[in-house]
């Protein structure tokens, strides 16, 4: 077993909710329970598949399963899978309740702190008339009550505060102290794969609270960075968080990733981290088309996600589909089955400029407590370069 770093090692900033002894202990045990689920119960599901499920399916059908739905037919009722699911679902709900308890008692205080940090700043642009897309408002994403846009008091920041404080327990500390592993992975990929690429204007589509935006600030100090999100509470919190960390030149702008209202042909890098699975079948092609519209010649769009199901063995697809089935991620399954490179081509990128890759966060080894035991967070990424001579031919 490898163990998550304790909660008290996560980074502190002015908006981080104050946690009492037992609240810290609760996040710590939930993170360990999640590690246990992943490292002990997960392998038991595979063993059950190898020992029983696969043979039951073969006896019934005279062949191996073709897809995750057929694996599910053999495994959904398996004791190992049901136990894994019961424990995993419960740790998710316990984590959510723990986070809600933590923030609800200090919601007004956090709101006031955010107000004080945000007051008068031209870099926070909220639009009271903006209507967030249904995929943001209609669902409690990963069991977070009310979802990203929920407001329980005026200028509320309690859901993002819960998200920030509890994310550690969900991912077992693998995000590093600033929970920015995806942003660091993106920067590392850029520096490795295209060291001469120096984006001057950058857009983060679906920035959330800016966890993964800020590593871009550090990597490209002179770039103009615009972080877009549909949810006002996330932007309020993210903007205040950035300021309390000494970053006052990233613009947090409320808007729709499919229709940002930013100028065409004016950005060098348009990216997203773990956002596509939270959109919708209707929105996704529009988001890619928007990235294509925003990029100028030689620009790059890159989107970090969980691995695509394409090419994965059906059992692996079935296991990875757990979030889509049981963690309130309604677009998860469909996204991971989608041919994203083909969708980028449809959005107007030249086929020869579209690519898939893997982005890996450099390990966070600043101290023994933050050692991640080699479990470097890694993502699938899909991207495209804008043609050097203006727009590609759409077709």
């Amino acid at each position: 077993m490898s163990y998550p770093a304790p909660w008290h090692t996560i980074g502190r900033h002015a908006l981080m909710p104050e946690a009492a002894h037992d609240e810290v202990a609760r996040f710590d045990i939930v993170a360990r329970l999640n590690a246990h689920v992943a490292q002990r119960l997960g392998p038991q599901v595979r063993e059950a598949w190898e020992a029983r499920g696969r043979h039951v399916f073969r006896m019934r059908h005279g062949r191996d399963p073709l897809d995750r739905h057929e694996v599910s037919e053999a495994m959904a009722r398996d004791a190992a899978y049901r136990t894994y699911s019961l424990v995993r679902r419960n740790t998710m709900e316990i984590r959510q309740q723990a986070g809600r308890e933590l923030v609800s008692r200090q919601a007004a205080r956090l709101r006031d702190r955010a107000r004080a940090l945000n007051e008068g700043a031209a870099t926070l642009k909220l639009d009271p008339h903006f209507e967030a897309p249904r995929y943001v408002t209609a669902i409690d994403q990963h069991l977070m009550r009310g979802g990203y846009a929920a407001e329980r008091l005026e200028d509320d920041v309690s859901n993002p505060a819960n998200y920030d404080a509890g994310m550690y327990a969900t991912i077992g500390g693998t995000g590093g102290p600033w929970i920015n592993a995806a942003g660091r992975a993106l920067v590392d990929w850029l520096q490795r794969e295209c060291p001469d690429f120096k984006p001057q204007r950058i857009v983060d589509l679906g920035c959330g609270i800016g966890h993964n935006t800020l590593p871009l600030r550090e990597a490209f100090p002179s770039a103009e960075i615009i972080a877009i999100d549909a949810a006002a509470p996330m932007l309020r919190y993210g903007h205040a968080r950035a300021r309390s960390l000494g970053v006052d030149d990233v613009a947090f702008v409320q808007g729709d990733a499919a229709d940002t209202r930013l100028a065409s042909n004016s950005f060098d890098l348009v990216f997203s981290t773990m956002v596509l699975h939270e959109t919708s079948r209707q929105a996704l092609p529009k988001i890619f088309a928007e990235a294509q519209r925003l990029l100028r010649a030689g620009g790059l769009t890159l989107h970090l996600e969980q691995p695509t199901y394409r090419g994965l063995e059906p059992f692996e697809q079935f296991v990875r589909d757990w979030d889509g089935r049981f963690n309130n991620e309604p677009f998860w399954s469909a996204l991971h089955e989608t041919d994203l490179p083909a969708l980028l081509v449809k959005a107007g990128f030249a086929p020869e400029r579209v690519f898939e890759t893997r982005c890996v966060a450099p390990s966070w080894n600043k101290s023994a407590l933050q050692e991640d035991f080699g479990r470097a967070p890694a993502w699938y990424a899909v991207g495209a370069w804008q043609m050097a001579n203006g727009f590609a031919v759409i077709g």
Partner: protein, 102 residues
């Protein structure tokens, strides 16, 4: 010492927004009672770990300061205020561990 933190400190927010079973919780076993039992058991697992951590913190602090003598904890009787505070703690505790029941 009162380390109790009220779950319901925000008057704009009903307690049901914070605690309780989700109405859309999936059923993994053939008997919904078994699912609920798992829910309570796992919350108990969590809360027992929290309590053990707290006790560990306390005992280490007391031993470090030479405050706690052997056997003293076993004969402790709470006064009225302490008993009341414990009651409130227990109410909040039950809201956590019985989450899966609603």
């Amino acid at each position: 010492m009162n380390h109790s933190l009220p779950i319901e400190a925000n008057p704009n927010q009903p307690a049901s927004a914070v605690t309780g079973r989700r109405p859309d919780s999936p059923q993994f076993t053939d008997d919904p009672m078994v699912d609920r039992l798992y829910g309570v058991t796992l919350s108990l697992v969590t809360e027992l770990a929290v309590t053990r951590t707290r006790l560990d913190t306390l005992e280490r602090m007391l031993a470090k300061r030479g405050v706690l003598n052997e056997g003293e904890m076993e004969s402790f009787v709470p006064d009225e205020a302490a008993a009341g505070a414990r009651g409130r703690l227990q109410d909040e505790y039950l809201q956590r561990v019985l989450r899966a029941l609603g």
